[in-house]
């Protein structure tokens, strides 16, 4: 039975991630007084890309990278307890596994960028790596704050324990830091330094076309939804009814709200330079470390 939940997770993510992307695009357009594409436009994009000609520089690493990226996020998704129900796989991983899997997705982007030989792509890769190094700890410490409370690194245990029994100061601080890091997690403005369309022309993805690009696009959308789901599961656990279907529906509504937030912040902020962004991340890391310390003392 629990094994079905794995497929439910994956299905929900693949089916809805493009929709949330569409919402952001629509919202961005509205903010900028444009009409914008229909919310289902990302689905059209993906389908169209899958059928288009694929141009490669002819090495296996370039072709492997998009497969690796999409697979890593799908694997990560199959471990997380969507709708507060652990899947069959949840017990086989711990939070460190999840963190490493998310990192693997970024590694795939780097691999693709480096093997495309394009100078702009490699600039993007260099920035992406700097971002991973400084933003990953924030993600890790989100789990660790919970893990310290639960004395367990189990995925469900550390995700659920952070806000169960009300918010302590540690949880509140961690939540604030997570919100501040959210744009960086999903690579949107003001932290879209990796892609930076008008500066380095989509950076790592510059050489990608057709189905390979479709895979990367789907990966980015699913990653965005993943972080939104992570946020609502970890920080908003009190709207839990106990009915699986209802819980998922409620969570999806919350994810929708988080997505709107991401879209609004993205649409109203200019991009930071990488050195400015890096300084910002250092502050976030320091703050989240404080949250972990507070959690240790039970504050």
């Amino acid at each position: 039975m629990d094994i079905l939940l794995v497929f439910v997770n994956i299905l929900i993510f693949i089916a809805l991630a493009p929709l949330f992307e569409g919402v952001i695009r629509k919202l961005t357009a509205k903010v900028q007084s444009r009409q914008g594409p229909p919310v289902v436009q990302p689905y059209y994009d993906l389908i169209k890309l899958l059928g288009k000609e694929s141009i490669t520089p002819g090495n296996w690493a370039f072709k492997l990278a998009p497969l690796m990226a999409l697979s890593s996020i799908i694997t990560a998704i199959s471990f997380i307890p969507l709708g507060f129900r652990a899947t069959a796989l949840t017990q086989y991983g711990d939070v460190i596994t999840v963190i490493y899997l998310l990192t693997l997705g970024s590694v795939a982007i780097l691999l693709g960028a480096l093997s495309s030989k394009n100078t702009y792509a490699i600039i993007g890769a260099s920035r992406e790596m700097a971002t991973i190094i400084l933003v990953e700890p924030v993600l890790a410490m989100t789990f660790i704050v919970g893990a310290v409370k639960a004395k367990s690194l189990g995925i469900d245990a550390s995700m659920f324990s952070l806000s169960s029994g009300g918010y302590g100061w540690a949880s509140v601080l961690m939540m604030v830091v997570f919100i501040l890091a959210l744009q960086a997690f999903v690579g949107r403005q003001p932290f879209d330094t990796t892609e930076a369309e008008i500066e380095i022309l989509e950076g790592p993805f510059i050489e990608y076309s057709g189905p390979n690009y479709a895979l990367f696009k789907l990966y980015m959308m699913m990653k965005q939804m993943f972080y939104a789901v992570l946020f609502v599961t970890v920080f908003i656990p009190f709207l839990k009814t106990g009915y699986y279907a209802v819980d998922i529906a409620v969570q999806l509504v919350e994810v929708f709200a988080v997505t709107c937030f991401i879209g609004l912040v993205g649409a109203t902020n200019p991009r930071l330079r990488i050195d400015q962004a890096v300084k910002y991340y250092v502050v976030l890391v320091a703050l989240s470390l404080t949250a972990v310390g507070m959690s240790f003392y039970g504050v």
Binding site: L114, A140, K151, V278
Partner: protein, 622 residues
């Protein structure tokens, strides 16, 4: 049975000694000498592996006095020595095989000295992990190891910077030796050739305060060898980066581990219990763990800044040894607490540290052999000049990729299993001890930096571009003689990652059979099956006081299966549109073509990170 093991040990040592006398006469015929050296090392290596097999799986030997003419030296080959003997013997064989083809790279240098020193170096390392004293036998082994490796490092003696690096190495290793010897003779009444057991008894009769001096000096000495911060930075990058690559593989993969061995032996075995002498395990645990954490962070960050591929690997060795030292210290601290929860995590941590010793030997060996192959094929190890070898050296590229993923700790490769063990146990312990929590977070953070080092190493060597303008001649894949050892090591990287339970069980055995350590009783009293669930699928841990599985973790098999399923799905999805594929040149955004002037150089990578980590030192001048 006893004499049996020691008999084999002496025979193996004799063969190595014979090799260093006989093979140099054949050095005129380079290939022939290489094969002969490999043959001798393999015969000795197989015997040594046999010793490991006997001791690791149950028959640990007690200390024994062996006579060499008038002098007697105490030897002890227990399961713990056996574990290290296996690593040394195996890597020695791999490296000897690789040397056969690789040493063709230096036609202008005679191989005579190389084949004198090589077996002596191995002999010295074997001696380091088998002698049971800290004076006579230790000195002979240490000097044999140091002086033989000094000549190996100095192989290209016509280059002044190489000689400088080698000289520094020699001087500092002698300094380390002095530290250890002084430390030993601080023990009142310690005589030349006393076995460790005797030393422990004599130490027990001393006031406890002396331990800070004795252990401190010994820690400095072995720490020098292992490469702890800041001592390792003084010699390690200079020596490891200039030696011929198979020797670098041995230096980084194996020789540093003799320092780790020394630290473990000192703080877990050489521990007296008496009325006057109270061993302050918590203090030493905190000190060693702190040193380890600083070492792993600084070493890895410095590694990220390097442009020379072998220097990058050398700094990264400091970082990886830092993980091991950190594990040792954290475990020592946890064993010296009263909490059952922490003591169990201590067991897990020490297993992880020893597991990482093995893993690091394999993947760092593979990485040095890779950079050796690249040096062989292109003539350069400068990452600014390399690039784009993916198509030209496809096998080396795949093997390097496996090694890079292993050392970065990506599941399901070997580094993940051991780093997970270290990080997760210290994070779990962190719920009771704050400093372990912080250290665990730093270790986790550092593994992302490790990843960046190897993205750079792999990316700037095999992908990107550069060799087209800089390599000079046509680049070819290296010969089978150099690929074969790398394939064996890469297979091990995967095996050690996929079957962590085999290694967990073996390492538990190592500690259960080796008598006299402070963890002997813990390992034999805790019923492992109650807390450690290991199967084909992986290893998970439960801890007292918490229901359920606390950290179900090294489960590479499950992750791999799911990942492969997802990979298949992604592949089918990509095919689903039925799109055509075409090869085309990279679009240069308006430039006419890609050349040395407009490509992205290694030194520009991670510029923003380098600037915030400038204070860690090890910066490279432009």
């Amino acid at each position: 049975m006893n004499s049996d093991v020691y008999g084999i040990l002496l025979t193996a040592m004799g063969i190595l000694l014979a090799s260093s006398v006989i093979v140099p006469f054949a050095a005129g015929k380079r290939k022939y000498a290489g094969w002969l050296n490999f043959l001798f090392v393999t015969v000795a290596g197989v015997m040594l592996l046999n010793i490991s097999y006997i001791t690791v799986f149950g028959s640990s030997q007690l200390s024994q006095l062996l006579h060499f003419g008038p002098v007697g030296i105490y030897f002890m080959v227990d399961s713990f020595s056996g574990f290290f003997i296996a690593i040394i013997a195996f890597m020695a064989m791999i490296s000897a095989f690789y040397s056969i083809s690789y040493m063709e790279h230096y036609p202008e240098y005679s191989l005579r000295g190389f084949y004198v020193s090589y077996p002596l170096f191995i002999l010295g390392m074997i001696g380091m992990v088998t002698v049971d004293d800290l004076s006579l036998g230790f000195t002979i082994s240490w000097q044999l190891m140091t002086i033989a490796s000094y000549f190996l490092v100095k192989f290209e003696y016509r280059k002044p910077e190489i000689v400088r690096g080698a000289n520094k190495y020699l001087v500092l290793m002698e300094l380390a030796w002095v530290f250890i010897i002084i430390g030993t003779f601080m023990v009142q009444g310690a005589g030349i050739g006393d076995s460790l057991h005797t030393i422990v008894q004599k130490m027990g009769a001393m006031p406890g305060n002396y331990q800070y001096l004795i252990y401190g000096l010994i820690l400095c000495g072995f720490g020098f060898k292992a490469g702890i911060f800041p001592l390792g930075q003084l010699w390690l990058p200079d020596a490891h980066s200039v030696a011929p690559s198979p020797i670098s593989a041995l230096l980084s993969g194996v020789m540093l581990k003799t320092g780790v061995y020394g630290i473990l032996r000192t703080f877990f075995w050489m521990v007296p219990h008496s009325e006057t002498f109270h061993y302050n395990g918590s203090f030493w645990g905190i000190l060693i763990a702190s040193i380890g954490v600083v070492t792993l962070f600084i070493g890895t960050v410095q590694s990220m800044k390097q442009n020379d591929s072998k220097r990058l690997l050398a700094y990264s060795s400091i970082g990886q040894v830092g993980y091991i030292i950190f594990g040792i210290g954290a475990a020592l601290f946890m064993f010296n607490t009263q909490s059952e929860f922490l003591r169990l995590l201590g067991v897990i941590t020490i297993i992880g540290a020893v597991y990482h010793v093995l893993n690091h030997a394999v993947f760092k060996g593979l990485l040095f052999l890779t950079s050796g192959s690249v040096l062989f094929a292109t003539g350069t190890k400068d990452l600014n000049r390399l690039g784009g070898l993916l198509k030209l050296m496809p096998v080396s590229a795949v093997l390097a990729g496996i090694a890079a993923l292993s050392i970065s700790g990506v599941p399901p490769f070997s580094g993940f299993a051991s780093k997970w063990t270290l990080i997760s146990s210290s994070l779990l312990a962190g719920s009771e001890v704050l400093f372990l929590l912080i250290f665990g977070i730093i270790a986790l953070f550092t593994s992302a930096i490790t990843l960046s080092c190897y993205v750079k190493f792999f990316g700037m060597t095999f992908t990107a571009s550069g060799h087209e303008w800089n390599a000079g001649h046509k680049v070819k894949e290296v010969s089978a003689g150099m690929l074969l050892p790398k394939i064996v090591l890469a297979a091990l990287c995967i095996l050690q990652g996929l079957l962590p339970f085999v290694y967990f069980q073996t390492i538990i055995g190592v500690f259960q059979y080796s008598k006299g350590s402070i963890v002997y009783s813990v390992f034999n009293s805790i019923n492992m099956n109650d807390h450690l669930f290991s199967s084909m699928m992986g290893v998970s841990v439960s801890v007292p006081g918490i229901s359920g599985i606390a950290s179900s973790a090294a489960v590479p098999a499950v992750v791999l299966l799911v990942f492969l399923g997802a990979l298949l799905f992604s592949y089918l999805l990509r095919r689903s549109g039925g799109s055509e594929e075409r090869e085309a040149d990279t679009w240069m955004c308006g430039y006419q073509d890609l050349h040395n002037g407009n490509r992205y150089l290694n030194r520009s990578m991670f510029a923003s990170l380098k600037s915030i980590f400038r204070w860690t030192g090890g910066n490279v001048k432009e």
